[in-house]
């Protein structure tokens, strides 16, 4: 289990060295998107229209934060369950997405896309919304404001703590962890 500090955008080299179980502290700009925003992003790709942000090397965080109190950058901001984005993720990966942050299992199509196009799926600690918000230094809505918590936000993060769940080699931390600790 290695530890890395990485800055976005991520390169093929950055993600290729990561293995399931590694701890990564991410810094730089990342983007938030949930189901509704993913649907719109994929529609744009299919129509050949430009996206609200550059997908090349990008990291998307599956999060719908609480509203910030006056003086706060962002409210609580932990990950949401990722499988809801499974039907959209492979096409984004094919178009340059390098990292996804969420919680919970991904399907085979996402894992396959991670292998084929070199991308990783990171897990953040669900329910640690107050703690994770401390690592978010700036936040602004850049698209789909009408979606409220589901709008696309540009976040600036510093040492945002994540664990590699699915790497570029087809490993899966959830499966390995459970196999190791299960008692028949």
């Amino acid at each position: 289990m290695a530890e890395y500090r990485l800055t976005t955008p991520l390169s093929d080299e950055d993600v290729s060295k990561l293995k399931a179980g590694d701890i990564v502290y991410l810094s730089g700009t990342i983007y938030t998107a949930r189901d509704a925003a993913h649907k719109r992003l994929v529609d744009l790709i299919q129509k050949g229209e430009p996206l609200p942000f550059d997908l090349k090397g990008a990291v998307i965080y599956y999060v719908g934060p609480t509203p910030p109190k006056p003086g706060e950058v962002i409210g609580s901001a932990g990950p949401t369950t990722s499988y809801r984005m499974d039907s959209y993720a492979p096409i984004l990966i094919e178009h340059g997405l390098k990292g996804m942050i969420g919680k919970g299992r991904r399907n085979d199509a996402v894992k396959e896309a991670c292998k084929k196009h070199k991308a990783v799926y990171f897990g953040a600690v669900g329910g640690a919304g107050a703690l994770l918000a401390q690592r978010i230094k700036d936040a602004k809505v850049i698209a789909y404001e009408e979606l409220g918590p589901e709008a696309v936000r540009e976040l600036v993060v510093e040492d945002f703590p994540v664990v590699v769940v699915n790497d570029t080699f087809g490993n899966d931390l959830y499966e390995e962890g459970r196999k190791k600790w299960a008692q028949a």
Binding site: P68, S76, G127
Partner: protein, 287 residues
């Protein structure tokens, strides 16, 4: 006939929501600390440590423990000798919910089922709540509240077993549901199990089971034994905190039955499993 003022209900509900979504209950803190002590997997221990740190920070800053501040779900016991002065109890719960979520900077998580549109300006901020009313003797109003997140609801299931499947069938079903939930619904879990009644009522029982103090003993010794057996078996699944692998998958199993006793139809054995994530936010007030 005793009276309770409408505005007092609104304010009490509002305050309960803001406090409980930012302060993890003592029972949950204790359960997480115990899990941390017992956990053998290093990565799961690290997750549990983060959860305890998160709870401390959230309380200090009055910041939501989790961004999914849920649908508001109430179980309300209304005494036959009490009435609300200045409005209806249901309206007071709606207004208290809206005020609590809005003024507490909590997330409005309700949306239209089909368009997925957030209707906070048309229907109301995080409205409607889910409310179960019960009529009881006395002149009090007891309100139990939980902020129920979407991730753990998505992993919950109900099934009507054949009577011949018995306790073994119930155990297998509970195990299957928790196994399928795996890392998705933010373990370590509290597992609410509703047994008996009808298809729908078993699900209501499974939800209400989650309001019980975590770590408390079921008053029915048979059910207490079944809860412990299930907990031990579920912890052998190896899921661990946030599914990273470990020995602490379940903090508690809570069973509720269709009372008096544990009743159902002669043809059926309904059972429902409501999964509760580790951010178990529940509270109650009596007015």
């Amino acid at each position: 006939m005793r009276t309770v003022k409408y505005d007092d209900i609104v304010n009490a509900v509002k305050n309960m929501i803001i406090y409980s979504t930012t302060h993890l209950g003592e029972d949950m803190l204790q359960a997480l600390k115990e899990a941390y002590e017992k956990e053998q997997s290093e990565v799961s221990r690290a997750v549990l440590a983060q959860l305890l740190e998160n709870a401390e920070l959230a309380a200090k800053e009055t910041k939501p423990l989790c961004q999914d501040t849920g649908l508001a779900v109430y179980f309300v016991k209304v005494g036959e000798d009490v009435r609300v002065d200045g409005g209806s109890l249901k309206e007071a719960l709606y207004e208290g919910t809206q005020k609590g979520y809005k003024e507490g900077y909590l997330r409005a998580s309700t949306c239209d089922c089909f368009t997925r549109e957030n209707l906070k300006d048309k229907i109301g901020y995080n409205l409607p709540p889910v409310i179960y009313f019960d009529l009881v003797k006395g002149d009090r109003i007891e309100i139990e509240y939980a902020a129920k997140g979407g991730g753990s609801e998505n992993a919950s299931r109900a099934r009507v077993l054949a009577p011949a499947q018995g306790i073994q069938g119930i155990k297998e079903f509970v195990k299957q549901v928790v196994s399928d939930a795996g890392p998705n619904a933010c373990p370590p879990y509290t597992v609410g199990v509703g047994i008996g009644g009808t298809f729908d009522y078993a699900a209501v029982l499974s939800k209400h089971a989650l309001y019980r103090e975590v770590g408390s003993l079921n008053p029915d010794p048979d059910l207490a034994k079944l809860e412990q057996e299930l907990k031990d078996e579920l912890n052998k699944l190896g899921i661990g905190a946030m599914g990273m692998g470990g020995t602490q998958t379940v903090l508690a199993v809570h069973i509720e039955t269709f009372e008096p006793g544990r009743m159902c139809h002669i043809a059926s054995l309904p059972v429902a499993v409501n999964i509760q994530c580790h951010s178990a936010r529940h509270a109650h007030i009596t007015l």
